[in-house]
């Protein structure tokens, strides 16, 4: 026993060494990918807090602060531009879109998944495929429809238009979700005297809350990914959402306020990116039809 112990320890140490070397190799291989992915975000972050002269001195090393960090860029943003209005618009648009999406996609997803409608499968696929009709084909006819509704040049036009991609995606997502709720739960509710609607509202909906929340998150994040509709339908400076307002209003001719631009972009982009990050697997599952678990 006492003789075997050093041998065991040596083997363990060798194993640990090998494991450490393997880790180092993997990290080294991954480093360039992480660098490529994250550097532009780091660059935005540091630019947002730099003083203007610090941005334009080529003899300094630009990767860190050569002068004191400043909040001046954000001051400009909030007091000299429409940024506050854009933030509010973005929030209001997303909230409305999320509400419309929920009110339509939740019942539709449930009906397609659970009520054995004839042709439910094909209907589901047809709705999902409309997610693949790109905005570039729809934006011209939609501009006419928006004008007919009297909504041109107001952010309400985007409330009407964004559900064209959030409803198909979320219906599909929720359809998959409702399928995973055991049928027995619904049957038990029926046995206990719930009607069809009662079973849906009082039993299925509460236990499907995670799926419903996921749909809300996507209504938010997908709305933020749009640029074309906002660009085409909303031109007054105070009506734009952030992703449209920042690049179109903060760049005037050849004058770029890079610090404010980057601050404006990050303030909204980063929270959205982090939120989306947590739900990315759901998104991939959604579009690949739930093959990957």
């Amino acid at each position: 026993m006492a003789v075997a112990q050093p041998a065991v320890l040596a083997a363990e140490a060798a194993h640990r060494r090998r494991n450490r070397r393997r880790h180092l190799l993997i990290y080294a291989a991954l480093a360039p990918y992480v660098l490529i992915a994250v550097f532009p975000i780091y660059w935005m972050l540091i630019t947002a807090f730099k003083q203007d002269p610090d941005l334009y001195r080529m003899e300094n090393i630009p990767f860190f602060f050569n002068m004191k960090p400043t909040l001046r860029n954000f001051e400009i943003l909030f007091f000299q531009t429409n940024y506050g209005a854009w933030l509010w618009n973005t929030f209001a648009i997303s909230a409305w879109v999320a509400a419309i999406t929920l009110l339509t996609a939740v019942p539709a997803g449930y009906a397609l998944a659970r009520l054995k409608l004839p042709g439910a499968e094909n209907t589901g696929i047809a709705i999902f495929l409309t997610y693949l009709v790109p905005p570039i084909i729809l934006f011209l006819p939609l501009s006419r429809i928006v004008a007919e509704l009297g909504l041109q040049d107001s952010w309400w036009s985007l409330v009407v238009v964004y559900p064209t991609f959030t409803i198909p995606f979320c219906t599909w997502l929720l359809m998959g979700f409702f399928k995973t709720v055991p049928m027995e739960i619904e049957e038990a509710a029926r046995v206990d005297g719930c009607g069809q609607a009662g079973a849906f509202l009082r039993v299925i909906l509460p236990i499907s809350l995670p799926g419903v929340l996921t749909a809300v998150i996507f209504a938010f994040t997908l709305s933020m990914q749009d640029f074309l509709y906002g660009l085409a339908f909303v031109s007054p400076g105070d009506q734009k959402p952030v992703p449209v307002g920042v690049p179109t209003e903060l760049i005037r001719g050849d004058v770029y306020y890079w610090g404010s631009l980057m601050g404006a972009a990050l303030l909204v982009g980063l929270p959205v990116a982090i939120l989306y990050n947590f739900f990315l697997d759901r998104f991939i599952q959604g579009i690949t039809g739930g093959i990957g678990k």
Partner: protein, 327 residues
Amino acid sequence: MTQSSLRGGPDPVARAAVVSVPARRVERPWLSHSARRLMFGYTLLAPAALYVMLLVAAPFVFSLYLALSDASVGDPVARFVGLDNFRAAWEMDLFWLAFRNSVVFLVVAAVLKSLLGTSLAFLLLQNFRGRKLIRGLVVIPFTLPIAISVLSWKWMYDSQFSVINWVLSRLGLIGQFGTEGWPIWLGDPKLALIACILVNVWRTFPFSAIVLLAGFTSVPVEVLDAAKVDGCSFFQRFRHVVAPMIFPILMIGFLFDTVFTLSDLSVVYLLTQGGPANATKILPVLAYQIGIQAGSLGRGAAIALFLVPLLLPALVLVLRNIKRREW
């Protein structure tokens, strides 16, 4: 008590509930149970279906109509002009340049992002500490709203203060600012398209990697072990077990990316607006500039519709792959 009633035990409350169901049905004898279920179902489905029909299907048909008319922003009365808009686009040099740029963009971007995406997926497949964190960092480009991340690139591609050039210059790979050897990424017709393509690749290679990863992890370990026991080599296992199993998911990911890349206008519009000298003019940018900026709705719609033959094969293939999904 609830448990026994769920199992249909001799619970008086449960029995009463069962009995009460036929009683309720008698109240409305003119509707059978299944008819009521169907009515309930279609009522639930209607809002979503209507929304999609009114604001996706109808506009799509309307865009066909626009493309066949001389509708413009200033003149609401549109006359039918047949295929004039399509013919005009066909005869426009700029259209063919945009078509060519779109195809080059799509193909070069697809090659680069599948190389980066595949290698990244293999790395992320390894078992190591901090995997979740690294995965979270690497996918940020895809999750950041596109108009926002493009701004960062616009700053990095700045003609004078480009950080990319700063690094390359310090490494001695390019000349000093103001000399011939200083690349002006967005101002040089030879560089502008590749600069735009790189932004698209940066944004979507994490997507390729994650889709591939989802494919790999969907292959059950037992199947791989069984193949190993049967004496399959690594490459045989990959070729005959893994590849066929992940093919559908890969296909769908690839097609999604094709649709989004081909129809996306934001990268090019924000970086170069199609310039310099039309070097980065792609179909979506051309359709936007003619349809909205020049106000020629019919002509713009026709150009946008030229994307359909490029997108259609992708749509059909997605459809076929989705149909194979287990229900």
